[in-house]
Amino acid sequence: MVKVIDKPLSVNPLKKSQVLGAVTAFLGIDSCMPLVHGSQGCMAFTKNFLTQHFREVTPMQSTAVFDIATILGDDSNLHDGIKNVIEKQSPKIIGLVTTGMTETRGDDTKATILRFREKYPEYGDVVIVPVSTPDFKGDAETGYGEAVAALLETALSCLNVKKYNTKKQVNILSGMHSTAADIDWLKRLMADFNIEAFVLPDLASSMGGQVTRYYGLPEEGAPLERIAKAGGADFTIAIGSCMERAADVLLEKCSIPYKKFDTLTGVKATDELISWLIDYTGEPVPEWVQIERKRAVDAMLDAHFSFGGKSCSIAAEPSLAYSLGRFISEELGVKLQSVVTTAKEGNFEKLNAEHIICGDMEDLEEHLSDSDFVLSNSNALNICKRKGLPLYKVGYPIKDMLGHFHRNFIGYIGAMNLTFDLGNICLELDIEESHRI
């Protein structure tokens, strides 16, 4: 049962808006400018947040809806915004993200875009992807999923879909919680199973530090030409439940079957993926994968002495909370005290936790009970300091730590890393306890 604590406000929100999710998704697309349709702050806060999180240049723009324009609600801000972005930055795609403000005003962005097309036929080759992401509903993950779905809907319908080579083509829809290391791991795995994989969005390439020059637009993420061709793939893998909407678009429009993996964190979850790959491709399992599994299991054996009797709490977006919660409770044997997340329903309901709460960091703080450690984003640090608990940083934002985006959380390697990291936290607690006189 998901609990919602009865209170009129949110204290130290865990939730981030759909705007953040949608913008993040668009940052993983090559030559795509996220354009936030709202007042300057909606974009500025989001930009600041993501710049700190990724430690990268995070291109995005705002339609800067301003006073009189707000009340009148005409096309001018949106048209000027699109036009200026095209003229200054020459994007191939514009990800048009709405906000609570423009949604309250009742903007019909699709109609506005049609009028833009009529007025400026010279910009006809720039793909404009409208996505409705008011911040008075949903959360970052829904915004992220909606953006990818909208992108596919727009890009697939406006460009020819062509099958282009003989290898098996698989679309990988990577969820918002995927790190660069996770995405790279999947790419390598797919390649070694002789699959031509296409990762969408590809934040590893755009925000993973491989672009070594200044950019006014995200570079080297998933390119438009390739997105259009996603419609010609043989299969789609969706990672995390928020990617199901996008997988449905590919199924409905192009009849591409898909498999959804709610989690790829842990040995069991990775086994599930590898089994599927064996069945699907008939290829042998690459040696490095076999080695990684042995190492993960060995790590878990070594560490299990410290996990018994421990409990932890998690505060994260639904897909991430589920992935971590399942691995920690079902494979490491750490008890889940409280899982706080940002949705009222989802697969996380299945977790074996004392409390499952749709709420905020205050709820986390008040339901920690006898937790030994906490998994959450940087905003939980104050709580953990107050309670004297170790914090293992996951989710958004991670602003006080280097290299989080280059850590593996999925695959056997992810299981091994998590086991070591969390095992070390518990080992330290044990040593401290044992040395206490």
């Binding site: 007042s39 500025a44 947040f49 006073d67």
Partner: protein
């Protein structure tokens, strides 16, 4: 709203405003360009000013973006409380928009008052709650009488303008609802209000000892490390010192008009500036004693500081810097860099008032080519290259622009961890510039990979 905006935008104490032609006036109030904007909204600006008041809670009445993406992210430090690290928001939903959320707002205020026991609650309106016509002023009044705490409405919808305007909204809220509501116990001999210092990374603690040493008492800090209570008796000070924001001249002017408190503008970035600012204060008090104290203290501190700077100065000498920052910093930091022996090639004018620009020009002997208009990362990097500059000094959002260009960088933004004010800050600044300039990483970054070598 429109009338109120006009009143706030119109700054009679700014000479330029009076002598401006219609066209110039229009330009100054230029709207942001859709698709080519930078910087935050009015709500952001209001929050920057008030958030340092850490024994008061800050409740944001709006949907999740406004608070969810911004809380617990200011570099401001406080010893009076930790409420500035909390994010309180009504997190309004679709249903709240349809049905109205004034009762939710009131309940939220009561919840905070009972549970967190702050000294006051600041309530910020945002775009959506402003558009649906929520009467936060009335709700605050009602809640205030119920919880027996000051509950201050800050009318700050983001769409009304830039951060600068938001600074004024915050000032307006302070003047209207806070200043003049309490009596101080002891005001000291030379009591001042320190306006526009937010204690970022603890900069106030570099400035406070200077005041103390010369005998000036800071009665009300607006708002770095301020307790709510001290804002209430700002009207009892004998002078106001505006040190960081032209936008907060509003408060100083109101204090002058309604309470006859004269004000001066100054800066604590750079030794020359420190001395000048202190002497300006002394002239308000018309005190020879103060003047004497200042003269002897500053000359002692300057000597001491130069001694501490000595090891760093050779590495900084004649190095070229591009300053890309906003408002007051666009000129105040120039003096600091000059004193470190560095050469500023250009300074940005975004978010700067005309007064700020005039001061930049003063520094460059009127050479307008030294002004750098708004530009994106590419413009910045091109300028650095063109002038063969060694360092970019800018806010955190441009940090990664510099890293992409593989250029040494110094962060002067709100979230930074290091403090650069006062005498101590000068040394700190010299150290940190030296660290980035001399880091071996740039040599590695500029080297070619083996497979790239011809």
């Amino acid at each position: 709203m429109k009338l109120r905006l006009q009143a706030l935008v119109n700054e009679p104490d700014c000479d330029h405003n009076q002598s401006k032609t219609e066209k110039q006036k229009k330009e100054a109030c230029k709207k942001p360009t859709p698709g080519a904007t930078a910087g935050g909204c009015a709500f952001d600006g209001a929050q920057i000013v008030l958030l340092p008041v850490a024994d008061a809670a800050h409740l944001i009445h709006g949907p999740i973006t406004c608070c969810g993406h911004s809380y617990n992210n200011r570099g401001t430090r406080s010893t009076v409380g930790d409420m500035h690290t909390y994010g309180f928001t009504t997190d309004i939903s679709e249903m709240d928009i349809i049905m109205g959320s004034e009762s939710k707002l009131k309940e939220s205020i009561i919840y905070i008052a009972e549970k967190y026991k702050p000294k006051a609650v600041f309530v910020y309106s945002t775009c959506v709650t402003s558009m649906i016509g929520e009467d936060i002023e009335r709700v605050c009044e009602e809640a205030s009488s119920e919880v027996k705490l000051p509950v201050i409405p800050v009318d700050s919808p983001g769409f009304s303008g830039s951060k600068n305007l938001g600074n004024k909204f915050a000032g307006e809220a302070l003047i209207k609802h806070v200043v003049g509501t309490a009596e101080p116990e002891d005001i000291g001999k030379f009591p001042i209000n320190l306006i526009g210092e937010y204690n970022i990374a603890g900069e106030l603690w570099q400035v406070e000892p200077i005041f103390k040493a010369v005998g000036i008492d800071i009665l009300s800090k607006m708002t770095g490390n301020a307790a709510y209570e001290e804002l209430c008796f700002a009207d009892k000070a004998k002078a106001s010192v505006v040190i960081c924001s032209r936008a907060l001249i509003y408060i100083a002017r109101q204090l002058k008009e309604t309470h006859g408190i004269p004000y001066i503008e100054g800066s604590f970035y750079g030794m020359k500036q420190i001395k000048e600012t202190l002497l300006k204060i002394a002239s308000i008090f018309e005190s020879k004693e103060l003047e004497k104290n200042i003269e002897s203290y500053t000359s002692k501190m300057e000597k001491e500081t130069y001694k501490q700077l000595k090891p760093y100065l050779p590495a900084l000498k004649n190095k070229k810097v591009l300053v890309y920052t906003g408002g007051v910093k666009s000129w105040s930091v120039l003096y600091q860099l000059e004193e470190l022996g560095m050469e500023v090639i250009k300074s940005s004018t975004r978010k700067s008032t005309e007064e700020d620009i005039e001061r930049i020009l003063e520094h460059f002997d009127g050479d307008e080519s030294a002004l750098m208009p708004k530009g994106d990362g590419k413009t910045i990097l091109n300028l650095l290259k063109e002038h063969n500059a060694s360092l970019l000094l800018a806010g955190g959002r441009n940090m990664y622009t510099a890293m992409k260009g593989q250029v040494p960088f110094l962060d002067v933004n709100q979230e930074r961890l290091f403090a650069y004010a006062g005498y101590e800050g000068m040394v700190e600044l010299a150290k940190h510039i030296t660290y980035t300039l001399e880091s071996p990483v740039f040599e590695v970054a500029h080297s070619k990979a083996p497979w790239e070598v011809a």
